[in-house]
Amino acid sequence: MSSDKMNIWILVNHRQGTVEKETYGLAAEAQRLLTMSKQNSEEYCSDGKITAVALGAGLDAELKQLGAYGINSVVYAEGQELARYNGELFAEVLLKLYEKYKPACILMDHNTETSDLAPRLASLMNTSIVTRVIDFTISINREIAATRPVSSGYLFEKFKLERTSCPVITLLPNVLNETEAAENRNIEIINEKIDPGTFNLKTKVTEIMEAAPEDLEIDEAEIVISGGRGVGKEESLDIITRLAKSLKGSVGGTRPIIDWQLLPFERQIGQTGKVISPRLLFACGISGANEYTTGMEKSRLVVAINTDPGARIFKFADLSVIGDVHEVLPRVIEKIEERGIWNL
């Protein structure tokens, strides 16, 4: 911490040109750290600042919005090579930026990319790292500490970190609260020109093969379309797959669907299958027996389609549609294909 202001860095998480909500959560977390220091009346921290670091391409417009979340400035490394995640390159770029700006700490949200990136970066920086953190404190007079769950959440372990270096912290997404946007302020965007040729990279990306969204694991997918006995056997399930394709979701099923061998066992939702909590779940032709609902109770938004108005699944639904799946869904798919997913 050589600079006289505490500068907290957060890594911008973006996908397909849009900043993900976890970034706002990180901003709020950084804000909390600064406020905490202020309450402890630490002169040094009281006018600390939050800097967002973004690596990517074509993000200018999106990054300007960050002012609404209490972020003071943005360091933006732009380049076509950075449009897609590449662990080795990203770590080298961040190291270079770190050496230039010397922040107090680097916060990231814990996801599949950062669980690769954070250890690489920390090792290049020769600093401490804690992953899957649920609580983090940093201040000048007090200890720097991080807490994380172990043994499947039964226990917690707390780390005390060296004060002399800049720790790399990845925070679990479910502790990152979504924050309301305030009025946007103009923020400074510092463009950093990066020439990947200057790094001595040992790996090279030769080909990128995209998985179809419907092939995603059901417990990882954000949108899941699930079908039950009411959808019918054989080709009847195609309607579910079609909806999944148009919504870019994954496909799951109840036990009968798996018994009919229309889907593999990995796609079973429920007591003897997987427990899922997607942001959006379609339950089509599913009556909602306890053995199924055990596996989906924690889903965020649930749309249920069933011919029986008394079906138990409607108790769990945010939107209940009484009707035949094969009549309702083709029209839904038609509308989605007409207007695109986000303009319904």
């Binding site: 036990r255 009968p256 066992f265 427990v275 306890n290 053995e291």
Partner: protein, 617 residues
Amino acid sequence: MLAGIFRHRSVWKAGREESRSGSWAGLIKYIFEHGKILKKRGRGIAHFFVFYGFFLPLVVIILAQFNFEIGIIPSGIVSLLLDIIGTLFLTGIVILLIRRIVSQDSEGPLRTIFPMIILCVIIITGFLAEGARLGISGTETVWASPVGWIFSVFVPASPSFMQIIIRVHFYAVLLFLALLPFNFAKHIIASSLNVYFKRKNPRGELNKAYLTDDSAGAAIVRDFTWKQLLDAEACVSCGRCEENCPAFISGKPLSPRKIIRDIYNLMYLSNGEKISSNMLESTISNDEIWSCTACMACVEHCPVYAEPMDKIIDMRRHQVMCKGQLPAEAVPMIRNLEIFGDVQGKGAAHRMDWAMSPDLEFANAENADADILLWPGCSGAFHPRYQEVLKAMVKILNTARIRFSTLGKDELCCGDPARRLGNESLFLELAGKNISSFRKNNIKKILTLCPHCFNTLKNEYPGVEKELFNKSKENIEVVHASEYIMELIKVKRIVPKYPLKKNIAFQDPCYLGRVNGIYNEPREVISSIPGTALKELDHNRETGFCCGGGGGGMWMHEHSGKRMNVIRAEEVAEADPEVLCTACPYCLTMLEDGLSSLESEKETKVLDIVEIIAGAI
């Protein structure tokens, strides 16, 4: 021969210590009545003949060594009887011999046909000798030896031939006795011993887990007790266990016979001494031990009282408590038990949610002066379908003006799923807390709806109390709803008046029927409703077919073969009752699902016995 017997004894005695006492009366009754063996008609009768064909002539021969006189007529009758018995013996042994030869079991014929052939030789030479004797000494007592007479027609009437045959007969007898410990015939001793030492504890009480500082359950053959190893020694590989095993029938990779035979083979391979550490695991796969539903059909049908199921549970205990190898689907349920104390993971705060209704008002056990404690169980408290059944029970209790209470939020899972999935420490924790609650509230009598809770509370808790608290108090009386309802009907506290449906079939829950012998009460309860006819399913009472939900089956995926609940549902659909009645939350869920998966036009309704009575009063 004696050396052979003692060698065998040393092998199974290498097992762990277990205190067992024997019963001579039980053994004698078992052998002479032959009831357990006769349960399987054809082969049972064949064995009956072979046993008496072996035993009675032996008695006659021993008696014949003494000098005493009996008249011509009595001796003729004895001779005639021996002839008849000998013929039946020969028929029996030929039937069993053919069965063993055509048997699919590869080791069956090799082990068993040799002693059987010796027995054939003994009996045939016996008849030949008799025939030769008749040929020589004339035929004035021919009525007493009909078989001998037939043989005398084509046997040479030569004394030297008779001498040779009698010698062959005698040597064959000696050979049979000398080789007795070394072949299949050893079951005469081993199986008798196993019957002598048969279980005196309730059948539903699992053995205490074997726990040491660095191991749990059965990792190696020597982790079994000597009685468990004697089970393997006593096994005759008759196959009745697998014929009745729902996992085997539905095409799962489990045969209780194979489990026992594997243990037997390993026990001799290691010779009771040098035991390689992981042999048990590599011989009996995890797929096998996790296919078991703990329905106890194998235990029920074993003619020599061997118990394959407790060995499976002991191997599960090792997998779970030493290696953390529980099928992935069952992990969340076990975790829910650890954290929340119920199988659904809803937590104590929600345990009384089912009772949140103005018409459901009753006391908490803490300050109640109640006749009985109602035990809703996790299914009654949390499963939406079984909550209906629980409410029906409350209606019955109110109608009968029974003062009852519940433990309320202090109730925890009884621990049955944890114990049968091999997590003994979790079971002990849950059981210990429940027992403390019972004693704190001075509970005298408990009413359960779920047969699994019933079995655990009734048969396993007394043992746990002794183990954990080191004191045995007066046992708390535990009754199942079907028994209790029958009691209420008998004393006319409730009167079923309104006929519901004509044809009601009854699914025997394993833990009510087979494990606790309650077959009649539910049937009496159903029959007590006017205008109701009870329809028996093909598999009923002792042969009742498991729904697939027990032994943790509710939380495991059936990876291969046909689904057990579908097999049972097909049988129900064939019998075509209007209502299928059961008395277990697992059966209810599994069979409702099984029947709806048949997708037949006419859907059979599945109701709990409690709902049926609540609808009839």
